[in-house]
């Protein structure tokens, strides 16, 4: 299958991004204005806009087969001014809301393209963009849900484990990745409500945390997802810090995301947020 991953990062500030509207970047109801910059778009689909660090970039990720790839995530860089990597944890409190996925096939095949997966995820990124740890929940067609945790190294994604059936319901749950150093080991614990789901020994420090909604299903409807009490752990003083209001990515014509006050990110697809 031919693939076409296209990337564009226009240099001048203000180009290549969807303008922010009153509802935050990319929210329905906002005026649809795009400056494509140097983005190549063979399919005629709208570019994906990204706002980061107070300047606008444009990032285009397109698969000719999958269609528009969409995310709505908020992030926080946890390095200090000297850019020393300090992050050894990320915590998010949220309701595991149901997503209405498009009809598909192979709905119980985890992560399958044909199952139209939508993810609520959080990451700690290490330095560049090729290494990370991750925990999240997935909604696929026919109401098949599962939880997953894993890591990325050199751009390759490694699955550590999954658990069928996610917390669901209307109660909030705490999703956390936290590094615990014991002797020479550096154990990254992947937790749900304090229960360790997986452990990874990796001597590495993070520089950035991120959380949000990620969708490969253009027709999915995900009502407002609130990512609250966002926190990152700083290794140097062994404390959790709240984060919010810094970096945000609002994308595509069907997704939205915005900061809601303090340490809270709202995201949705096919609905307001």
């Amino acid at each position: 299958m031919p693939l076409a991953w296209l990337f564009g990062r226009p240099g001048p500030e203000g180009q290549g991004s969807r303008n922010r509207g009153p509802n935050g970047p990319g929210c329905p109801g906002d005026p649809e204005r795009y400056v494509a910059g140097d983005i190549v778009d063979p399919t005629g689909r709208l570019p994906l806009g990204l706002m980061r660090h107070g300047r606008t970039d444009a990032l285009r990720r397109e698969s000719l087969d999958l269609g528009e790839d969409r995310v709505a995530v908020g992030g926080q860089r946890g390095a200090d001014h000297a850019r020393q990597p300090l992050v050894t944890g990320v915590t998010v409190t949220r309701v595991d809301k149901e997503v209405s996925n498009s009809a598909g096939s192979s709905c119980t095949t985890q992560f399958a393209h044909n199952a139209n997966p939508v993810f609520q995820t959080q990451w700690v990124l290490f330095g560049g963009t090729s290494n990370w740890v991750e925990i999240g929940t997935a909604d696929q067609c026919n109401d098949y849900d599962f939880m997953f945790w894993g890591w990325g190294q050199n751009g390759a994604w490694h699955l550590m484990g999954t658990a069928v059936n996610t917390p669901g319901g209307t109660a909030s749950h705490v999703f956390e990745i936290f590094r615990e150093d014991i002797g020479i080991a550096h154990y990254w614990r992947f937790k749900l409500d304090g229960v360790v789901k997986g452990t990874l020994d990796w001597n590495i420090n993070g520089t950035y945390v991120e959380a949000g909604l990620e969708s490969g299903d253009a027709g999915a409807v995900a009502t407002q997802q609130n990512y609250t009490t966002l926190g990152w752990f700083r290794q140097s003083d062994q404390k959790w810090y709240l984060w919010g209001g810094n970096d945000g990515s609002g994308v595509g014509s069907a997704m939205c995301g915005h900061w809601a006050g303090g340490a809270e990110w709202h995201a949705a697809q096919g609905a307001t947020c």
Binding site: W5, R61, A112, N114, T121, W132, E210
Partner: protein, 156 residues
């Protein structure tokens, strides 16, 4: 004389034993490779094509085993998931088909900043026939020569 005959018999016995072992090893290697190939072209290919589309192609097959997967999981420089290591250790010398498929696997998750150039999927298919996702990524990062090694003496 009798001592020399005894030595000859011992040498002959050792030679025969070596030949038998070599034949078994050669035969088993062929059988293991064939079983792995069958799993990758059968169960594995059905799994990936139903999930990711009919364009997915089998790129490589490796006949490994549980210990081989552990070797891969604990490769120096690689983060280690002890639970996974324990699970694969329990499979020991049981045959594991390692199947590499090329296609569009961009439906796997990843952070916004990552390239997510997911064009190769590595599946592990143990004796029970249930495919397990090993890793997904760019072709130059998900390579047979860096995955679970070939085990040449696998039983069929």
């Amino acid at each position: 004389m009798a001592r020399r005959a005894g030595r000859d018999m011992l040498t002959l016995r050792q030679s025969l034993m070596t030949m038998v072992l070599l034949l078994v090893a050669t035969g088993c290697s062929s059988t293991g490779a064939q079983v792995a190939s069958d799993r990758c072209t059968g169960i594995g290919l059905d799994y990936v094509r139903s999930g990711w589309g009919g364009q997915v192609q089998l790129a490589a097959t490796v006949a490994s085993d549980g210990d081989g997967v552990v070797t891969w999981l604990t490769h120096p420089g690689k983060p280690v998931s002890e639970v996974q290591v324990t699970e694969w250790q329990q499979r020991g010398s049981s045959l594991v088909a390692v199947c590499y498929y090329d296609g569009d696997f961009s439906s796997f998750p990843g952070p916004e900043e990552a390239a997510r150039n997911y064009t190769r999927l590595m599946l592990l298919i143990p004796e029970d026939g249930e495919p397990i996702v090993g890793s997904v990524g760019p072709m130059d990062a998900v390579r047979p020569d860096e995955g679970p090694p070939v085990k040449s003496t696998l039983p069929g």
